[in-house]
Symmetry: C2
Subunit: 407 residues, 2 copies
Amino acid sequence: MSTLSVFLDVPAAQKLEGSLLKAYKLDNCSKKMFLAYKVCMTQEGQPWVSFVVHKIRRQIAQDPSLNYEYLPVMGMKSFIQASLGLLFGKHSQVIVENRAGGVHTVGDSGAFQLGAQFLKTWRGDSQIVYVISSQVEQHGLIFQDMGFIVFEFSFWDSEQLCMDPNILFNLVKGAPDGCIFVIGNIDYCKLTQSQWTKLMATMKKKRIFPFFDIPYQGLSTGDLEEDTRFLQYFVSEGFEFFCSQSLSKSFGIYDEGVGILAVVALNNQLLLCVLSQLMNFALALWLNPPTSGARIITSILCNPALYETWKLSLKEVAENIMLIKEKFKEKLRLLGTPGSWDHITNQNGTHGYLGLNFQQVEYLVKKKHIYVPRNGRINFTCINASNIDYITQSINEAIIFTNGSGG
Amino acid sequence: MSTLSVFLDVPAAQKLEGSLLKAYKLDNCSKKMFLAYKVCMTQEGQPWVSFVVHKIRRQIAQDPSLNYEYLPVMGMKSFIQASLGLLFGKHSQVIVENRAGGVHTVGDSGAFQLGAQFLKTWRGDSQIVYVISSQVEQHGLIFQDMGFIVFEFSFWDSEQLCMDPNILFNLVKGAPDGCIFVIGNIDYCKLTQSQWTKLMATMKKKRIFPFFDIPYQGLSTGDLEEDTRFLQYFVSEGFEFFCSQSLSKSFGIYDEGVGILAVVALNNQLLLCVLSQLMNFALALWLNPPTSGARIITSILCNPALYETWKLSLKEVAENIMLIKEKFKEKLRLLGTPGSWDHITNQNGTHGYLGLNFQQVEYLVKKKHIYVPRNGRINFTCINASNIDYITQSINEAIIFTNGSGG
């Protein structure tokens, strides 16, 4: 037997699992809790699933008429149509004019992988990408691996405890012509229409290419249309763009790897060229996208009664999130915790900034076994009736003991 | 609105769909038939599904205890273990010694994409790949896109109407040191143990890296172990290799995109390094592989009773294929078709060479609307009671009218 391995020079790769989750898992304390899960959690601490999904899953499993053949490279047509309808509205300009299309992908990572390969090949002159900091680990990495220069940004003002559009305006002003801006996720996009108009004017002047990221439509404000309204502005202004839409989180089918890369072009002819190139990349990446998740989503989106039930379940989640945030704020108020906590309820969606500084976050992790990312951005659905007292008391302690305010 | 499109320079990509399928779809003749489908078909002309799958699908849909959270990057551990067990045998040397591992991928294209990315990065000095001609469109393309030089090979001897190992021996002898050989699919690998030994000796001398392709274990001979026995030879000889295993076809869950990239290394430490690098690539490709198909397969493989039922269904398929081939040969004999047709029954698996020359194939396509690839390699499960007479009569006609023998 040869003793010289082919793999002799292959080093162990850096651990992929976030160091926070790793530290949490190694912690033996019974009180430990992790507040940075990606997905929406129920009050029982389980990943949320829209109840209409269970029913559909059973129906699909019992349907003898279904064909389990390979999908075409582009994916499931009805799923793509339904997804685009959700993203832009069924009667929107781009759909009526046949200039919005999509490729069915393996989740949002697949959509970014596909989009990045296209941009690498067909926009070779502009290899600079701006990615919002909360997405840099996931999407930034994809661009970086392909040789793009990736800049990370955030427009959370940790002094004023709010999103500051001016940070974004200045960033866009200073960005090089023709670069790519990954804009998402929706929680951040609480600009007013006139602020968007201002942003778009600069983007257009600098030929900045928008790559939107819609990871949980409907879970931000609880209103599907409201969550993607800003896309309409870009459509109206004649922008061409990519948009990754993953509906896994909005239905609670996290492990199905379901998404689309939506494309908006100036006309149908351009769109078809772009889609044909994207399919060439998809062919080598996975050939046929997986069907199960797309089948569940399509069954729900194409049935008016199920669609309404699903919408209701999203609204409930958004209301529950707001309720948790209200309770959370009230508990801190009752404890007399220094600082204003309005920023908690001013943020939409599952994830939001606690507005704690690094010392305070460190206190929570090290002394209280509450695992919070360095920037203090947590998943509020990880907070429930059984842990809210411990969490708020610990935050109160962290602020008093580190002798700072909430800012 | 700006009238200059960002996508102005993007041309339409070449059509991906094979030209044969395209021509078939455009044909208006009612008698038309397509004999080159990738998947195993039933006698009713539907994609085959192992009957045990339906039952499991219903059970899974009704199981309230299942968690639909994201899988880790590596995928579903139990699925990987079960797949490796199937590939090498649960008690095989490489599994006992902890030097076989795998990454859960999106089908076999995903496995080849992942493996090729690894080889591109970590074996930069050898960028030459040999791919068997039946797989060159699918896997060859992946290597080619990444900058590898791809050579196509076949060891079907169209004069003698059989596989000729000497073609393979000479090819390996002439191949450059350190190149990559994609060996599959199983139907081709009907070498005897001593022929494998001879092949391995040359491969080892030339440090050729084997990348196996197991696209339908159990559907070739009807015997799961028999179909992958040659992997044991490579293991025993101390080879390190990659192996793509896709079980979609063996269960009839084509649209689930389920596969693994199996890795065999000289020891556990090397294996872990390779797997960690593969995970880095998977992270950017799809982050989390889809679960549905893996869950179905694992449920069946890990339940002894279901496993036996599944094995039985594979055996049935293999027997049916042989029955079709026998009938096919008999019909040609009764028609007095010139030539020997033993090569039909001498080939294993769903796909096999008809042994027709190009003129004869063209006659079938153009005059008889029977769509057969240029090399005459068809899917025998596309032949059934309702079309066998038309097909055999047409072949008889093709041979007589083109005035040649079957060779």
